[in-house]
Symmetry: C2
Subunit: 340 residues, 2 copies
DNA sequence: AACGTGATCGAAAACGTTTGCAATGGAGAG
DNA sequence: CTCTCCATTGCAAACGTTTTCGATCACGTT
């Protein structure tokens, strides 16, 4: 029954209850110093009018709002998963969550919208923010926690143990007998991309496999960026027997390219991704990948932000969560295992 | 580089630029009546200080904020899908989106939180809201669009063509040769639940199959509610050869129960759901279901809300989107097809 | 020289809330 | 009866912005 009309304000309540707005405010916020009878009157007026305090006005006046913000650059499935974790962490914590999503996906404001949103929110609306989009310079008057930060960032952040995850992938492939393992890197400015590459290199080095620059493709986590790189890797005469892409989105493109070139997976080529997005389980064959619990990423980020906002010092401002190798059908021993 | 410190306000800009806040406001909002040189000064001051207008203060002062709100009761995967559609519709529309999620998932405010959030948002922050949670009484001073409304609601709403969807399911089952078809209903207050049951009844009637009340289980869309109902339906001597659950969540529970009772699907029992959530494709066997594009639901809702907010009358305040039967492995002809 | 005109800009009110401070009143002490 | 004191309550300022209104000024017209 959407009845239009001016929203009921505190003055309305005050008038009906026959008191001042100051008193109404005190009742609403449970402040000390209001007589029982007045409280009853105000309560009844609130009930009668269906009054609810304006989030905006309260935010403007107060410094603390008990609202946390989240800024994300898009809503992929992983963002939703992060969200679940955040909400779970905030459940019954007294903090509400506001998610700010920009409408100008491809608009003129595309550059720098993260900062715009962050500033607009943290100006007054929120006590702190979680940033899910990769962004280099984070300026904010209130605490910020970044999920998957850029390399070298000093902002409090939560990230997966990308090094260990990538290492486990390469060890898995080496264990199957692969020696020529291609790698498609992610956006190089991101710490996660860098750590995954680092894991790739270190695991190869540890096994005594020489590093071949020709096996590296420089992607940017955007699935489309992987397509030409996969073609390039697979075109050479001495093509790799396995390709490890730094994200599932890119790995799925590799799968596509391989099929397009008449290569069977995992028969002719093993493919591994990173992230364990839902689509990976549905792929044909299922994509071997590294699970980084997005849920947990969100949960830890919210927890960290909460402690930053309330001022409870928790020591670590940088949290790493463990990863887990998920072996599916896209990896198998190479057809010919030369040198074994 | 999160630098703490008081956020920069319009007064700061005014001081630096040597003008009044009124002028700064005019520049920021592109109002007419500011000299080119002044504009340049103000712009430079804004740049220098990194000023961004406070969403809160602006909202408080203005009536229009160009921000739309979305209130959802939880973040299942379908909510994320709805979100994508909403964001796409709002892309480059000049509207931003704020999603308000409550932290008191199981808290004392559990009852009526939707209304609380809606009121807090629509009070001043947003120009209108999309409500994704089923809720009976919607009170709001600003336009509201409800996705999947309650039965009899007069609030502008967007819903799937549940009647046609349910009809297609039953026709599919009838076509396979089923005659005893069980039905597990959804929350009866919802229009979608009612329409799905209506479709079930009408399709049976159209085929001349008598309606048997013993084949109806009264669920509430909550997956757990389906478990005892499935047991009850399958316990009888004259058990159905197929069960149509009004939601995928409930259908998956039926699958579980059937397996638990030693029934093979689709050998001994065909199972159909409604919604086509991602999990349904992953189930073993894949769940036959009705696809209602959540994306489209969100898209249309956002579009409708936009037109309501801007006052462009678009006629229909009630939108139905088409559904599509998705046949997977969970349906097959009954083992014995009596009467055929 | 007086005046109208249009462009530019600042003062101040307003949005709805919170809160420091002061005012009011009644009760108890002297 | 007066004074003090505490509990209760209202007044008004403040949060950061937008917008109305009027002031100022330069310029061209009579």
């Amino acid at each position: 029954m959407a009845d239009v009309g001016a929203p009921v304000t505190m003055s309305d309540v005050a008038r009906v209850a026959g008191v001042s707005t100051a008193t109404v405010s005190r009742v609403v916020n449970g402040r000390y110093g209001v007589s029982a009878s007045t409280i009853a009157q105000v309560r009844s007026a609130i009930e009668q009018l269906g009054y609810e305090s304006s989030l905006v006005a309260t935010s403007l006046r107060r410094s603390r709002t008990n609202v946390l913000g989240l800024v994300a650059h898009s809503f992929q499935s992983y963002t939703a998963e992060v969200l679940k974790g955040v909400m779970q962490a905030l459940s019954r914590s007294g903090f509400d969550l506001i998610i700010y999503a920009n409408s100008d996906l491809y608009g003129t404001y595309a550059e720098g919208w993260e900062q715009r949103h962050l500033t607009r929110l943290s100006g007054t609306l929120t006590d702190g923010c979680i940033v899910v989009t990769p962004w280099d310079e984070v300026r904010s008057g209130t605490p910020v926690v970044v999920i998957d930060p850029v390399r070298g960032s000093t902002v409090p952040s939560v990230t997966a143990d990308n090094l260990a995850g990538a290492t486990s992938v390469v060890e898995h492939l080496l264990g199957l007998g692969h020696r020529r393992i291609g790698f498609i890197a992610g956006r190089s400015s991101l710490e996660s991309a860098w750590s995954r590459e680092e894991g790739y290199r270190k695991a190869l080095a540890a096994a005594g496999v020489p590093f071949d620059p020709a096996l590296i493709g420089r992607g940017d986590f955007n699935p489309e960026s992987a397509t030409p790189l996969a073609h390039a890797l697979l075109a050479g005469a001495d093509r790799p027997t396995a390709i490890f892409a730094a994200s599932d989105g890119m790995a799925l493109k590799v799968l596509e390219v391989a099929k397009g070139r008449g290569l069977s997976v995992p028969g002719d080529l093993s493919v591994v991704g990173f992230d364990n997005i839902p689509e990976s389980a549905l792929a044909e064959p299922g994509l071997t990948t590294v699970d980084q619990s997005m849920y947990r990423l969100g949960y830890e980020a919210a927890h960290l932000l909460k402690s930053l906002v309330t001022g409870e010092w928790e020591g670590h401002r940088r949290i790493e969560i463990p990863t887990r190798l998920v072996v599916r059908g896209s990896t198998a021993p190479p057809k010919s295992t030369p040198g074994l």
